[in-house]
Subunit: 141 residues, 2 copies
Amino acid sequence: MSEKLFKHLEMEAVGNAVSLPEVLSAIQFGRDGLVPAVAQQHDSREVLMLAWMDRQSISETLETGRVCYWSRSRQAYWRKGETSGNIQRLVEMRIDCDGDALLLRVDQHGSACHTERRSCFYLSVQGDEVKILTQAATSSS
Amino acid sequence: MSEKLFKHLEMEAVGNAVSLPEVLSAIQFGRDGLVPAVAQQHDSREVLMLAWMDRQSISETLETGRVCYWSRSRQAYWRKGETSGNIQRLVEMRIDCDGDALLLRVDQHGSACHTERRSCFYLSVQGDEVKILTQAATSSS
């Protein structure tokens, strides 16, 4: 039923708005209660990482302006940068056409990746090989 | 066990390579056999969409150079642009640090979104509202 809202929004004019709570209740969470969220550096447009959010972490992120994910491996909220200092400040949250994916335009302090690389996407398929694109830092900045 | 490969790759030097089949076998597919794949326009760096791939659609995409997803709603392979003509040519496939997400750098012909918008992420959270950022096209280009 909540998919109907996104269907309805398809034909809305640019600049028109609907209430945030209405849209949040319509988000298509998976069976695990999560949606994938892509973090992109807002100015350079580099894609930094992909992680997961539940309803509560979306609300917290919007309230605090600091990105909070749900860690599937730890089964706990993951306030990005809480231990590393590499916080993600939220610049803008976007929702996709059918409400089952998020794009977080962020300002990333330091590295997004746990290896201290700027982006998690440092493995590149090149022919029949996969190459390392960037170096792991030995100390955090 | 396959997570070990990604752990091992963390400390590899830039430019070092491992075999593609080895990395593909280590990808951490979800219980549904899928991983999320983010499509990004390679030159403008605009994030276009997020969709899902299984092992077979990854192989097909690498072989043909045209992006093939797995459609969760239709439970079928989804060769992007097959009906709309809005094909995605693969420029580069990247894999993230723990092998459970893909970044597809693509050259998108026309619109990525089924609403004929360039990007699926056209809904923007602004305060307590969600605004429409771009107009749905009335005809495809």
